[in-house]
């Protein structure tokens, strides 16, 4: 029994050291879940970019889309760039609708936008808002190079924090039907004995998996 606990702790420690330690939480509040999936309808996932101090990273939006599409092959997720270009200039940082009512106003003013959206058969528009930021760092590292070769010695560590929220708009119900939020915190390390070995905590990837799993549960008929 004692050996099992020690082995468990060791295994946990090795995994933690190999990929950095990440802790994450996911909160969700959803209504009107499609009980039989979304059928032939499509989903579009977009990042919020209207804040002055941060942008939702395009690769995070892509990661969530890929997570959903790979979890249920029947769900067709429209690429963010493809959608934003198709509907230019209405989903640029300056013009993107912040509320569902703003989007409905746009569809009334611009029938050509409404027609194009209908042709895509988009049932859900999911907005992702948030970012991953690098926090405090500590440690020191010295690198030197000479005729006989070079190398580094030292240790560095830094933390990363991810905070994202997904808001789901349902076009058939004309309503906001859910909000899912996730936070993830991780510590990365870089020990160096001749060669620096970065052990990066997959903070953004964990946040992507967390929010992607919840969205998949909401959209998929398989869950």
């Amino acid at each position: 029994m004692r050996y099992t606990i020690i082995r468990g702790l060791l295994a946990g420690g090795v995994i933690c050291l190999a990929s950095g330690c990440v802790t994450s939480t996911v909160d969700q509040m959803v209504f009107n879940k499609p009980t039989e999936g979304i059928g032939n309808a499509t989903v579009v996932i977009l990042g919020r970019r209207h804040a002055s101090d941060y942008d939702t990273e395009p690769d995070f939006v892509e990661c969530v889309g890929d997570h959903i599409a790979s979890g249920d092959r029947s769900i067709h997720v429209i690429g963010e760039l493809e959608f934003v270009n198709d509907f230019y200039p209405w989903f640029e940082p300056r013009t993107a609708p912040l509320q569902l009512a703003d989007l409905e106003g746009l569809l009334q003013r611009q029938p050509v936008v409404a027609e194009r959206l209908a042709s895509l058969n988009t049932q859900y528009m999911i907005w992702l808002d948030g970012s991953t930021v690098r926090g405090d760092s500590s440690g020191s590292m010295t690198c030197a190079i000479g005729p006989g070769g070079g190398g580094c010695f030292g240790f560095g560590t830094w933390s990363s924090d991810a905070k994202y929220e997904a808001t789901i708009w349902d076009f058939t119900e004309h309503a906001e039907v859910g909000r899912i939020s996730t936070t993830a915190t991780g510590q990365s390390y870089m020990p160096a004995v001749v060669i620096p070995i970065p052990i990066i905590a997959p903070v953004q990837g964990t946040a992507c998996d967390g929010i992607g799993d919840q969205l998949l549960q909401f959209l998929s008929s398989q869950s």
Binding site: D86, P89, T95, V112
Partner: protein, 226 residues
């Protein structure tokens, strides 16, 4: 003599790669002394919107069509920058206007008395009033940013003013791993041009002078829906 000639040839043959390497290094060093140059290039999508049933003329001045921005380095550690936006400006405005108006006609010359031009409802003249940029090295913020302030004019074919207004555009891009400063500045400029298009398309009919002119041309009903 013969031996001495062979020896000189051998020495020359041995030194030739070293001389070439030295020249190459010198060229690299000299290239490093010049300004960092960016010729802005990007794809600009056509707008998805109801077209205004008007024929609009467009006139790009030589300054606008060849617009470039030069910023000289203030310290020895900084680099000078030359950002050429003219080609991308023309590309963006051509695509945008073609999607906003029923017909777009390029003008032969700047509208004015005595200037022969095709007949159109009005002529649009964009000018870049000011362009500013910020690099992470200057601001300690990990984003590349570009601001553009436009001076826009709508005039009759005779050159009489219909509306005259300013419009700002902003583009930023985060520091990207394995991306050069030039590529990041290009991306920020493309984002600023996209923002200019979005700002223009969404606010054109609300510009006071333009609003009055549209009411006169199209009637209040049609103008109000745009």
């Amino acid at each position: 003599m013969s031996a001495s000639t062979t020896s000189a040839h051998d020495t020359y043959r041995l030194l030739w790669p070293a001389a070439m390497l030295l020249c190459y290094m010198l060229l690299v060093v000299l290239a490093g002394c010049g300004p960092a140059e960016v010729v802005v290039k990007g794809d600009f999508p056509a707008p998805t919107m109801e077209k205004l049933p008007l024929t609009i003329g467009v006139w790009y001045s030589a300054d606008f069509a060849n617009h470039e921005f030069f910023d000289e380095a203030k310290t020895k550690t900084e680099s000078s920058w030359l950002v050429k936006t003219g080609q991308a400006q023309v590309q963006m405005w051509d695509t945008l206007l073609a999607g906003m108006f029923a017909r777009v006609v390029p003008m032969v010359g700047r509208p004015g008395p005595g200037q022969m031009n095709p007949t159109v409802d009005a002529v649009f003249i964009p000018e870049v009033g000011e362009l500013q940029y910020a690099l992470p090295a200057q601001t300690n913020v990990k984003v590349y940013e570009i601001w553009i302030r436009y001076k826009l004019q709508l005039v009759t074919t005779g050159g009489d003013p219909i509306a005259d207004w300013t419009m700002s555009a902003y583009g930023k891009t985060p520091t990207a791993f394995m991306q050069s400063d030039q590529a990041a500045v290009n991306l920020a400029a493309v984002m600023a041009l996209r923002d200019a298009g979005a700002n223009f398309a969404s606010s054109f009919t609300r510009v006071p002078g333009v609003q009055a002119w549209l009411q006169d041309r199209l009637g209040s009903g049609q103008e109000a829906t745009l």
